[in-house]
């Protein structure tokens, strides 16, 4: 039986408690030694990890695996997990047995890692033990590209193994010195992993600085070379025309996972008024790799790129499949790539046209408009409501003007100016307007949202509530005032890829019609069109006016992924089915999605917010579910379809309103609770006004103009509260009046 010695263990970098005796108890240890891995840990020994090994393993497996080659990556990944898990196990070990078990795992994993590092052909060796540091490197080190890493074995004399990592960004100060600082152990061997970013093309002299506790640092020059760049010519084609088209593009280095801005990747910072995420690198609120940053490119990309393997990503909105492909860039050579993201669906052919109700972006010039149009086309959004934003203090995202004259179109893509204002965050919520002819903003009546709604409707525009999906900014309060008065047309129920229907259903269940809409809220959102509202134009040719007309009828659905079709008898979403007698209604719904990413898919039909029928895509590769059934019209209701895709995206239609003559389509059985919620919202408004008035009377509001205005506008706002209260009382009376009829229908 072979005995594992202390020095043998130390050779693997483990510190052994000097008071514990060592022996190897079993065959496992002998086998491990034969395999070059330390195991069969002595029962009494309590090993501790070589310092820095976990961080080292993480960086090596995650960022710099290329040093050992792609084929070693799974093993590195496994070792990283093993080390971290065993470390945690060791940390939390309650007794000696558990400690020993953890130690055993650590020993095995650490030994395997050390073996792999030592056998790395790119390993450099530096000897600091003698008087002068010696770097064993035969000539300049060839790096694969402008971002790379150095793996260095630093010998400082004595026993022990430790690990260290560093990252040097050569574009950062002190860039001129090209200093790469490494913290090494005072003695023994340190394995150092030095990440390098933004290394200039050609030959660069780095200064490796080894810092050791209690000793003066040692500097060693090291020449590295990066190969001459190659050239990438990337063209993304429209699947409709086969011609180059704007697209969202991603360039990702397979060497270290870093991304690059395409040469013509658009920046929008000046148009974002320093608001939100001002970078042109847009990480969409979409699943999986789509969440990584993409850039909008208005046309073909032609740029120098470091040699190596690159992942090209291209996407053109949700109706197209996202394409990821690898290309190899070689020094001095041009690599051409042509990507044609295939449409998995063409909703235009089915009469549905996409829109985004909530895009913030300044448009003051033709160039501003062209940049934004490129983005809209890249995301394949046919209508973008470009909203000037306001609050009680000021406005943002300036527009040249409003109305048809200030729309900007390119083929079937159009930008239309609108507004998000009023916006009160702690009071009444945010509201949107589309298809307006002028900005409506009156700070003296800022809390009287109905005035804005009326003014916009007077212009022929559409009004709605933003952020209804999240209920943010107390939007329920103003909805309680104005939705029952039919002042608002739509509600944003999908944003940041999150479908939120609680508030939406509450108002539908009160018998209030609201069109389902969606908006990205760029630049706070990820990208234009990550959520979208489709409006049904049918056979009509697309135009902004046609889209708004369709939206006005409520023929919409919202989505971040799957598509929906929904019909009750012949009625489409937003339609009203008026029935003189009870009868069965034929419900047809279909949900389908990109088969490559949205399966499995669940389709649901809801009645008064309650799921009455569900279908799932049975065939895993086919992301499609259908429902075809009959339902009793009863005393009236609203019916809608919604879908959830396997990748976390979702969709929801505007309801079909089934109205029995003389009855509201509301959820009669739940009225007490629904009305109580609304009355509670009204009470909150009253409290809010009372509080503002109290503080104002006490002179405590100082420069808080928002609440001063609230105090001053309080009377008018409270009049509206009283009006709404009256309205809810009327609804209670209506309910009582309906009760006998409903009872007779039920029989």
């Amino acid at each position: 039986m072979k005995t594992m010695t202390r020095s043998g263990l130390r050779a693997f970098g483990f510190r052994i408690s000097p008071t514990r005796p060592l022996f190897a108890p079993g065959l496992a240890a002998a086998l491990a030694l034969a395999a070059g891995a330390p195991t069969g840990w002595p029962a009494e020994a309590t090993p501790s990890l070589p310092s820095g090994i976990v961080d080292f393993a993480g960086r090596l497996s995650h960022n710099h695996w290329y040093l050992l080659g792609a084929e070693q990556r799974p093993e590195l990944e496994a070792l990283n997990r093993e080390l971290r898990e065993a470390q945690q196990q060791s940390r939390k070990a309650a007794d000696e047995t558990a400690q020993r078990a953890a130690g055993e795992r650590l020993a095995v994993a650490a030994g395997r890692l050390l073996k792999r590092v030592k056998s790395c052909p790119r390993l450099l060796r530096v000897d600091l033990a003698g008087g002068r540091p010696v770097l064993a490197a035969g000539g300049p080190i060839a790096l694969p590209g402008d971002s790379a890493a150095l793996l260095i074995e630093v010998r400082a004399g004595g026993e022990g193994v430790s690990y260290t990592t560093s990252l040097a960004d050569l574009s950062q100060p002190p860039g001129e010195s090209s200093l790469v600082a490494l913290e090494a152990a005072p003695g023994g061997t340190t394995f150092a992993l030095a990440g390098l970013e933004h290394v200039p093309i050609g030959r660069t002299t780095l200064t490796l600085e080894f810092r050791r506790p209690g000793q003066s640092s040692v500097r060693v020059p090291l020449d590295v070379t990066t190969p001459a760049p190659g050239r990438l010519k990337l063209t993304v084609l429209s699947d409709d025309t086969g011609k180059p088209a704007p697209a969202m593009v991603q360039l990702l280095s397979r060497t270290d996972g870093s991304s690059r801005q395409p040469g013509n990747g658009l920046e929008f910072a000046p148009q974002f008024d320093k608001q939100g995420n001002t970078s042109g690198a847009r990480a969409a609120n979409l699943p999986g790799p789509l969440h990584e940053p993409f850039w909008c490119v208005p046309g073909p990309v032609d740029m120098a790129l470091a040699p190596g393997t690159w992942q090209l990503g291209a996407r053109r909105g949700v109706e197209h499949e996202a394409v990821f492909q690898e290309v190899t860039i070689r020094s001095g050579q041009t690599t051409q790539a042509v990507i044609r993201p295939r449409r998995w669906v063409d909703m235009r052919r089915r009469g549905w046209w996409s829109g985004d109700d909530h895009v913030h972006c300044r448009i003051l010039s033709h160039d501003d408009a062209q940049r934004l149009l490129a983005w809209v086309e890249a995301e394949d959004i046919h209508l973008a409501n470009i909203v000037k934003m306001g609050d009680i203090y000021r406005t943002y995202f300036e527009q040249r003007g409003f109305g048809p004259n200030y729309r900007v179109a390119d083929g079937d893509y159009v930008l239309t100016p609108g507004q998000e204002c009023p916006r009160t965050h702690d009071q009444l919520g945010h509201v949107l307007a589309m298809d307006t002819t002028s900005m409506v903003r009156d700070t003296d009546h800022y809390y009287l949202y109905d005035q804005m709604f009326d003014a916009v409707h007077g212009q022929g525009g559409l009004t709605g509530y933003a952020h209804v999906n999240s209920g943010n900014f107390h939007v329920h309060r103003d909805m309680s005032l104005n939705v029952p008065r039919a002042k608002a047309d739509f509600a944003e129920i999908l944003q940041f890829n999150t479908l939120g229907t609680d508030l939406y259903y509450d108002f539908l269940n009160l018998g209030c019609k609201l069109t389902a809409s969606a908006g990205s809220d760029v630049p706070w959102g990820g990208t234009i069109g990550e959520v979208r509202a489709y409006a049904f134009l049918g056979e009509k040719a697309f135009s902004a006016d046609a889209w708004f007309a369709a939206f006005r009828t409520g023929r919409t659905f919202t989505t971040s992924g799957p598509m929906l079709e929904f019909q009750v008898d012949d009625a489409l979403p937003g339609d009203e089915l008026r029935l003189k007698s009870d009868r069965l209604l034929q419900v047809r719904a279909r949900a389908w999605g990109d088969p490559k990413r949205m399966a499995p898919l669940r389709l649901e039909v809801v009645r008064h917010g309650v799921v009455i029928r569900t279908a799932e895509s049975a065939d895993p590769p086919r992301a499609e579910a259908r429902l075809d059934f009959t339902v009793d019209a009863g005393a009236g209701c609203w019916l809608a379809a919604r879908a959830y895709a396997g990748d976390g995206t979702s969709a929801h239609t505007t309801p079909v309103y089934v109205v029995r003559e003389g009855l509201r389509f509301w959820k009669f059985d739940g009225l007490a609770e629904l009305l109580a919620k609304r009355l509670a919202s009204l009470a909150e408004i009253e409290q809010m006004v009372a509080e503002a008035r109290r503080l104002d009377a006490q002179g405590q509001l100082g420069t808080d103009r928002a609440r001063k205005q609230l105090a001053w506008q309080g009377d008018a706002l409270l009049e509206r509260v009283a009006l709404a209260r009256q309205l809810y009382e009327d609804l209670t009376r209506v309910a009582e009046a309906e009760r006998p009829r409903r009872a007779s229908l039920a029989h």
Partner: protein, 279 residues
Amino acid sequence: MGNPAWPLIAGLALGGLRESTAHEPLAACVQHRLQLTVGARYIDLTLDLTFFEEWSARERRAMDADGDGSITRPESESYLKKLAPALAQQVTLRVAGRELELVPLYDPELDLRGNRQTGPAHHRLRLWFFASPAALRAGDEIVVEDGLWPQAPAIATLQVEGRDGCAIEPGPPGDPGFAPALPGQARLFHARCLKAPRVRREGRGAWSVERGAWPCPHPLLILILILILISPGPRAALRLRSRLRLRLRLRLRLGAVSTVGWRFATLRRSHAPRVPLPL
């Protein structure tokens, strides 16, 4: 405030309140995007925290150690190093009501979106964790508690992915825009396992065992193995010996030495690459 990590996070979170921009609502948010990937061997969590203007400004000020208005690489690295242990303690995972130990998979990563200045901007902090589920069954509820930056209004999104035949459903659509959580409260991400992952064997015999139940080679097993390996015998014994030798050689090459043990508590997918064993 029982958690020792609180002072650090609270300190960082509350630092620089005067620097806040105008009272912009979204600007005051932190977006929490959780990617939950469930497979036979691991549950992986990737948590992206996107700090909108106000919180980014606060955190950037915390990064800028020398207060010169620009964040150098060593400053951001040092910020992360200080923060990392506290971050890990603020995220927990429960499967079917049982808490699983989360292990950081990599060190946290900071993306300043190309802007290394202090002041309002956006930045992203990415955290990776993994856990080894003992046995995931259909119907099990998976809950991730995220107690990071609880003072900030959150925009939360959950992304789920099932691997190895596993099907996962994100929680029911609820209110993603959490109100600021009170100290000690966590944001909850819910998902449900619709179909349990298939237990896979990657290369025959390449099994690993339940965490914490490291196999001790049974003396009797060791003795039998030694006898088989060294003793002459009839043809059947030779065949068995030859097979065992081959298996052991392959095992050693795959680095899964310790699976020789006799306590195979749970079949698990091994880290080892898939190598079909010619038996």
